[in-house]
């Protein structure tokens, strides 16, 4: 075994493969940094080149890319509060507040060291268990997957804001958004407005495909943050001078939390190992784990470095775990590994049961590529952390047009449809108010991510097992205990928050009308869900109707609480009061309008033209930059978009103009 292991290392580091590996790493770093581009997008960019390559070099390049995406996606998460890819959702929670404190470099480097460790942990685990993993994976049946999904939902309690019911309403809303599209058990279209509109209406067609994960993830987190930063017209970092020795401090943070890193890496690779749950909730589980198991967790969500270290260790270790079912059964455990498998097939390496017996050398090549790429990736990222952190000292209004273009582009790339942009805006505006009134956005995200799993596995578990069969399965029982413990910790944390909130409730003396309007809107969504799914088959409607009823019930409780309370009570939390009094603040709707103005423009002149124009107008009029700078920036954005359009074979949404006149590439 060791001989084969080191022979594989030799093939990687000698000869041309190492260059392809580094090439993969570099592309992966760039792809990770751009919000909305994850390993999935990055690998699909490589696929045309992989065909016809020599297998070892091709594997090295793809693995190089896949291994570092979860490392570099931390940059935007920390610096601008936008997850660079799905696996950096939880990093935003504490990473961004740290950047606001002027500690971006510290947060980044701590994240990179954790990520490096996680990646290597995944590689070691992969090496050790690949030959014996079969029974472990097969022990996770649908019942266990259901419990894992329920466990995922149970962490909502530990992550939500001060009101548990607001968190639950948010989680239900997330699940309802997750129900949009084809139902898993009855293959019916749900919540696509087909009851009101004609089926071939573009909106109905779009919703029939379901809403893409990145559309929700970006709009729910990035939209409110950017609106808020724009309003205050300041830099991200509240301190003009960044803290010194950030790099070294990050390493120290990493070392002093080594057991947390180890635990979270373990969680990441074990959940990654099980195909079916997917990587999207691992970060939240380990974030919750970090929060509940460390001492003095009051600062979680306000800039605790451990809130960065936890999810970063697990988000990278899951890749190693997810490779195991991919290589062993040809059943990918994550979005990235799904495309990796397509690439491997193009290379003539078809993963499957016989691979462990006949092509162990290739498996070791994959493992070494994973490990070596992680080391390269982490070194490059750590070196970049400090200079890039300087971005947080620039006035945000200058950065905004670039970020807004980037985000709109990232959203559009989800399914490359107008619908992505429209629904992202819609969810984004809801998210602004959720943030303001303290409805947990994390809860919405978790609800959304797990919606399909819970519905599918609940139904399948009922079909596959009887109760007595289910309750003799040890892993199932263990997961019940784990979920129960998670709910218990959630309640404990909320009670603690209650006490704190009650002592300072007078500060938040808010207007109550906007809150009532928002609550009523949420109840209408819940009632709407119940009514428009009622005509479906039993299996298609039972889940959305239950969720809708629960959501209505929880909103009712909030309503009663609001009715019974004085206006100073914590149910009336309104973040608006915390920033009012600052005279320089811009109006909320004005900034939201700026955000979506390029979309209005696009309707007429097409996305491509409008983005450059938006950058120019925004910079010269609102940010008051020089004419020259604005022009150069706009042209730069146009060139970048043209390059992306060319390499990714992507057409931008056309406007009315393009419908009338034939225009040359890329304006068409």
């Amino acid at each position: 075994m060791f001989e084969a292991l080191f022979a594989a290392l030799a093939t990687i580091v000698s000869g041309p493969s190492i260059f392809f590996l580094i090439l993969g790493v570099l592309i992966g770093l760039v792809v990770g940094v751009i919000p909305g581009f994850g390993g999935t997008v990055g690998l699909s960019l490589l696929l045309p080149f992989v065909f016809g390559m020599e297998p070892v070099s091709g594997i090295a390049m793809m693995m190089g890319l896949l291994s570092v995406v979860a490392t570099s996606d931390t940059f935007p998460a920390v610096l601008i509060g936008v997850p660079g890819s799905v696996s950096a959702q939880a990093t935003v929670m504490d990473g961004f507040p740290l950047a606001k404190k002027g500690q971006a470099a510290r947060a980044l480097s701590a994240a990179f060291f954790s990520s490096l460790f996680g990646g290597l942990f995944g590689a070691v685990l992969l090496t050790m268990v690949i030959q014996i993993a079969k029974p472990i994976i097969l022990a996770f049946g649908t019942g266990e997957m259901l419990m894992l999904a329920i466990f995922g939902i149970s962490v909502v309690g530990t992550l939500t804001g001060s009101s548990i019911f607001k968190g639950l309403v948010a989680a239900c809303l997330g699940m309802i958004i997750g129900c949009i599209g084809i139902s898993p058990a009855s293959s019916e279209y749900r919540l696509d407005f087909s009851t009101i509109l004609e089926v071939q209406n573009p909106i109905v067609m779009y919703l029939g495909g379901g809403i893409h994960l990145m559309v929700v993830a970006i709009s729910i987190f990035a939209f409110p943050e950017i609106v808020e930063l724009l309003r205050s017209n300041k830099a991200v970092s509240e301190k003009a001078e960044l803290e010194k020795s950030g790099w070294f401090k990050g390493l120290r943070d990493f070392l002093s939390n080594k057991f947390l890193v180890l635990r979270c890496s373990f969680i990441g690779s074990v959940i990654g190992l099980i195909p079916g749950i997917g990587g999207s909730c691992i970060d939240w589980i380990s974030y919750s784990h970090a929060k509940t198991t460390v001492k003095n967790n009051e600062n979680f969500g306000k800039g605790d470095i451990r809130g960065v270290i936890g999810p970063e260790s697990s988000s990278n270790s899951k890749e190693g775990g997810a490779l195991i079912p991919t290589l062993l059964f040809g059943i990918p455990g994550s979005g990235g590994t799904a495309i990796l498998m397509g690439g491997l097939i193009l290379l003539g390496v078809d993963p499957g049961i016989t691979m462990v017996d006949t092509q162990l050398d290739l498996i070791y090549t994959i493992i070494w590529s994973l490990a070596v790429a992680n080391i390269f990736g982490a070194i490059i990222c750590v070196a970049m952390a400090k200079p890039i952190s300087q971005l947080t000292t620039i006035n945000f209004t200058i950065l905004a047009p670039f970020l807004i273009s980037l985000i709109l582009f990232a959203i559009f790339n989800s399914t490359r449809s107008w619908g992505d942009l429209i629904f992202a805006t819609f969810i984004g505006v809801i998210a602004v108010y959720m943030k303001r009134f303290d409805y947990s956005r994390v809860a919405l995200m978790i609800g959304f991510v797990l919606s399909d799993s819970i519905e599918t596995y609940l139904y399948q578990t009922m079909q596959f097992y009887t109760f007595s069969e289910l309750f003799i399965r040890p892993i199932f029982l263990v997961l019940i205990l784990v979920s129960a413990f998670s709910i218990y910790s959630g309640i404990k944390i909320i009670n603690k928050k209650d006490k704190i909130a009650n002592t300072k409730s007078d500060i938040l003396n808010a207007k109550s009308r906007p809150q009532w309007v928002f609550l009523i809107l949420l109840s209408i969504i819940s009632i709407y869900t119940v009514f428009v799914t009622d005509h479906l088959q039993y299996l298609g409607k039972i889940f959305p109707i239950s969720v809708g009823l629960f959501m209505f019930f929880f909103s009712l409780i909030i309503g009663i609480q609001m009715f019974m309370s004085k206006s100073g009570s914590k149910v009336f939390h309104d973040a608006e009061n915390l920033i009012l009094g600052n005279t320089e603040i811009r109006s909320q709707w004005l900034t939201i309008f700026w955000f979506i103005s390029p979309l209005f423009l696009s309707v007429f002149i097409g996305f491509y033209v409008s983005i450059g124009l938006f950058v120019f107008i925004f910079l010269s009029k609102i940010a008051r930059a020089s004419f020259r700078f604005s022009l150069v920036s706009a042209i730069g954005v146009w060139i970048a978009l043209a390059a992306i359009s060319h390499f990714m074979i992507m057409d931008f949404p056309p406007g009315i103009l393009q419908g009338y006149i034939e225009l040359p590439w890329p304006i068409n």
Binding site: P184, G208, G342, I649
Partner: protein, 353 residues
């Protein structure tokens, strides 16, 4: 006489210039794939793309464009809206069973019409049905009653997906199979039978050879039948698995009926659409004659080139490739048109539990 010679000469001259007119040198031809990158259809397109590039006049760059806007149906509709009247063959359409099935089941979202298409190239596959060893079955025909008495569970993606073929087959055989929906693709179905949650499953030929055959050899699973393969217009034994009976054969042996009538016709239509010729490269009917010719010639050249086929087979597993205008047209017709009676039958079958 002279007139005749001149006419022939003129005609040949004309055809030479016409043939010359199709020249893609320096151009980029797009394959429009209504699926995301990395999936089966995408891999297929990326494998045949370079082969087309090498065989089309002027050797254009062939790129794959994954269109995911509105899923398979929406992306296919979009192709027809944007390129349905193209003449130059610069954007070709790659389809698969998941595009054909909603068409056959008359999904009201479908706006594409196969009769407006010219097929260029088609790939087909077969499917192998297998059960867990503990069913105690070795020969589906001899042990049929034994199989019938077992707890049969099948994990499916949905009744109007490719799974219509197995589910209708089980119905026709009278097998009491509990169909559990919500599987995300055949891979999830395979995982479920490995865990022992389901007991009967099928995989396409390539996937069977790679992932299930080793288990059959180890004695964990037993292969019982194939869907068959099209031979001279009939569904006969799959040449890849000559020892396994094809479904029509099993049907006749088990039920005692001839494989005829509405049910059989409906199943055959589904089989052609989902398996026998499931992946097509197509051009819109508006494409110029010589453009179609150039593409069809390229397709024929690929299939006749053993080296190219060796690469293709290695990447894709054993697929049957169909080329040639006539064969393609009849295959497409089988895969996308069914008679009124069968259509009615499928509509009502779709809604039964």
């Amino acid at each position: 006489m002279l007139k005749k010679i001149l006419a022939v000469f003129a005609a040949s001259l004309f055809s030479v210039t016409a043939a010359l007119a199709v020249d893609y040198s320096g151009k980029t031809v797009t394959m429009w794939i209504p699926f995301k990158a990395g999936g089966g259809s995408d891999t297929w397109a990326r494998a045949i793309g370079p082969a087309f590039s090498a065989n089309l006049p002027g050797n254009p760059t062939v790129v794959v464009k994954n269109v995911t806007d509105g899923k398979a149906i929406g992306a296919s509709n979009k192709y027809f809206a944007e390129h349905g009247k193209d003449k130059d063959g610069m954007v070709v359409f790659g389809t698969s069973g998941s595009v054909q099935m909603p068409f056959i089941f008359k999904d009201e979202r479908v706006r594409y019409q196969y009769k407006n298409m010219v097929p260029i190239f088609a790939s087909g596959t077969g499917g192998v049905v297998y059960v867990r060893k503990d069913m105690g079955v070795t020969d589906i025909i001899k042990d049929f009653d034994k199989l019938k008495g077992q707890k049969l569970v099948y994990g499916s993606q949905g009744k109007t997906s490719l799974d219509a073929v197995p589910i209708l087959a089980f119905d026709m055989l009278g097998l009491p199979v509990n169909v559990v929906y919500g599987m995300k693709g055949r891979k999830a179905g395979r995982a479920a039978i490995l865990r022992g949650e389901t007991t009967i499953d099928y995989q396409t030929t390539a996937s069977y050879l790679k992932h299930v055959k080793p288990l059959v050899e180890k004695g964990e699973m037993v292969a019982v039948m194939t869907w068959g393969a099209p031979v001279d217009g009939e569904v006969s034994r799959d040449p890849n698995f000559p020892d396994l009976p094809a479904f029509p054969e099993v049907y006749e042996a088990v039920t005692g009926n001839k494989f005829k009538g509405t049910e059989a016709k409906s199943w055959t239509a589904l089989f052609y659409a989902g398996f026998a010729t499931q992946k097509y490269v197509m051009l819109p009917k508006s494409a110029k004659k010589d453009v179609v010719k150039a593409w069809q010639n390229a397709a024929a050249a690929i299939v006749n080139d053993p080296a190219a086929m060796k690469v293709l087979n290695k990447k894709l597993g054993k697929y049957d490739q169909v080329t040639g205008s006539k064969a393609l047209k009849s295959a497409l017709k089988k895969a996308t048109s069914i008679d009124g009676k069968s259509e009615k039958f499928l509509q009502s079958w779709k809604d039964t539990k």
